[in-house]
Symmetry: C2
Subunit: 296 residues, 2 copies
C-alpha cells in the first residue's frame, strides 16, 4: 500500500473517533433516531471530505484537531445527502457502503428524519465545538455560510434536483456538468476551502484552493461514472450498473467511455497546475492522483 | 380587531418582505426547486416564531431589523418541518394554510428536496446576513448552535420521531408531554431566546425567557389539539379532525377535552407569572393571551 493510502486510512481513523463523539449516543432518547443517524454515518466510507478539511488546515499552518468539528459537520451533511438520495422517492437504492441503506433497516419515515437530523446536527457540531483558541469567530461564521451554501439549493441540492428532474431524459453536456459540479463538486470544493479559511489562509489562496477543489470534484464524479461500469462491486460496497438501471445521465453515456477517461487525465493535469507553485504540495498532488486512479 | 392583533399583522408583513428577499428568487436556477421553496414559505402562516424573535430583541433594546436574518431563518426551519411532515411517508396531508401541500403541487421528490434546501438555507441566511454592527459574532454562533439544537434530534425532530413511532398506539402522559415539548415547544422557545441572545440579554433573562417560551409552546400545542376538534376549517386553512383520522395522540384524547382547557388556563397563569416583574411586558402578556385564546 502506498504511503498516501496508509495516511488516508490513519486520518480516517482519527476522524471517525471525533465523529463518534460528536454524534448523539445510542442510549440517548430517542434511541431509534440516534441509532439510525449513527448507522449511516459510522458504516465506513472513505471520509474524503473531512480529511480534506483536516489536511488543508494543516497545509496552511493550523493543527488538524482545531478543524475537527467542521470536518465532522461536513461528513454529516454528506451522509444525510446519501440517506435522502437512497430513499424510494429518490434513487430507491438498497445498498450503500456494503450494507443495507438506512431506510431498508429503519423504514422510510425514520430514514427521512435521520437525514434531517444529521443535516441539522452538522451545524450544531460546527457552532458548538469551534469555540477554540486560534480559531476566529468570523471564520466559523464564514464556514457555516459557505458550507450551507454549497450544500443547499445553489449547490448540492440544486445538482440533485436537476439530476432527479432529468433522470430518464437525454440531457446536454452543459446540464451534465451542472449536475456534477453541484451535486458532487460543491461539497468537495468547500471542504478544502473550509480547512483553509479556518486556518486563516489569505483570499488568493482560498480562491485557488476552491478552484482546485472544483476540478478534483469533477474528476471524482467522472470516475464514479466510469466505476459504475467497470468497478468491482465488492470493493465498492454497492451494485455496479445502477446508473444504467436508473437511466441516469452519466459522463460515460453522454461524453463516451473513452473520452471520459481522457477528460479525467486532462483535468488531473489542470488540478496539479493550480497547486504546482506551492511548496510541500504532496497532499494535493497525491489527492489528485488518488481521485484519478481510484478503483472504489 | 385588538391592537395586538393589528400589531401582529403589521409585524408579519415586515417579516414577509425580509423573507421574500432572503429566499432564492423564482428565476434563479434551478427554478422549480426555488419555486417550491417559495410556494411553501410565502403562502401565509401566522409568522409567530419570527415575530417572537423580533419582539424579544426589541424588548431587550435591539432594533428588530438586526435580527431579521435569524427570524427568517427560523421561519424557514419551521416551513421545512411542515413540508416534510406533510409527505406521504409521514402524515400524508393534502392541505396546509388553505392550499395544497408542497408535495401535492411539486411531487414527493421535489418536496423532499425543497424541505432540505429550506433547512440548509436557514443557516446560510443567518450566517450571511448577521454581520451587522451591534450584533456580536459570538452571539450569532450561539444562536446557530441553539437553533440547530432545538430543531434537531434532541429537539423538534426528536418530538416528530416519537410522534411517528407512537402513532396508532396508546401513549402515556409523559410521552405526550415529550412530543409536545419537543415537536412544538423547542422552536417556539428558542425563537424568544434567540431574540434575547442577539440583543445581549443577561443569562438570567435568557433562562427566564426560555422557560416562558417552553410554557407557551405547550399552550400552543394543546390549543392546536383542541382546535382540531372544535376549530373552523376555513379559518385554519386545513381540515379539522385529521388527528383522529391519523390516530394521533393528542391532549384532548389522552388528558380529555375539559382537562385540556383547564390545563391551558393554568399554564397561561404560569407563563404570565414568569414575566410579571418585567416593566413593559405587554408583548409577552398579550402573546400568552393570544396563544391561549386563538381560534386558528
Amino acid at each position: 500500500m502506498s504511503d498516501f493510502k496508509q495516511e488516508m486510512i490513519s486520518n480516517a481513523h482519527t476522524l471517525e473517533q471525533a465523529l463518534e463523539s460528536y454524534l448523539p449516543q445510542k442510549d440517548e432518547f430517542p434511541e431509534k433516531l440516534h441509532e439510525a443517524m449513527r448507522y449511516s454515518t459510522l458504516t465506513g466510507g472513505k471520509r474524503l471530505r473531512p480529511i480534506m478539511v483536516m489536511k488543508t488546515a494543516e497545509f496552511f499552518g493550523m493543527p488538524f484537531e482545531k478543524v475537527l468539528p467542521t470536518a465532522c459537520g461536513i461528513e454529516m451533511i454528506h451522509t444525510y445527502s446519501l440517506i435522502h438520495d437512497d430513499l424510494p422517492v429518490m434513487d430507491n437504492d438498497d445498498f450503500r457502503r456494503g450494507k443495507p441503506t438506512c431506510h431498508r433497516v429503519y423504514g422510510d419515515a425514520l430514514a427521512l428524519l435521520a437525514g434531517d437530523a444529521l443535516l441539522t446536527h452538522a451545524f450544531t457540531t460546527i457552532a458548538k465545538n469551534s469555540k477554540i483558541e486560534g480559531v476566529a469567530t468570523d471564520a466559523v461564521i464564514d464556514v457555516i455560510e459557505k458550507v450551507s451554501l454549497a450544500a443547499g439549493g445553489y449547490g448540492m441540492i440544486g445538482g440533485q434536483t436537476i439530476d432527479i428532474i432529468s433522470s430518464g431524459h437525454e440531457i446536454d453536456k452543459n446540464t451534465l456538468y451542472y449536475i456534477s459540479n453541484h451535486k458532487t463538486g460543491c461539497l468537495i470544493s468547500i471542504s478544502l476551502w473550509s480547512g483553509a479559511r479556518l486556518a486563516g489562509a489569505p483570499k488568493e489562496d482560498l480562491n485557488k484552493i476552491k478552484r482546485f477543489g472544483e476540478i478534483i470534484g469533477l474528476i471524482f464524479q467522472i470516475v464514479d461514472d466510469i466505476l459504475d461500469i467497470k468497478g468491482n462491486e465488492k470493493l465498492m460496497g454497492k451494485p455496479t450498473g445502477s446508473d444504467i438501471k436508473n437511466k441516469k445521465n452519466t459522463f460515460t453515456h453522454i461524453v463516451g467511455y473513452g473520452d471520459s477517461i481522457k477528460l479525467v487525465n486532462e483535468l488531473s493535469l489542470q488540478a496539479k497546475e493550480i497547486v504546482r507553485n506551492y511548496k510541500h504540495n504532496n497532499f494535493f498532488i497525491n489527492l489528485t492522483d488518488f481521485f484519478t486512479e481510484r478503483t472504489y
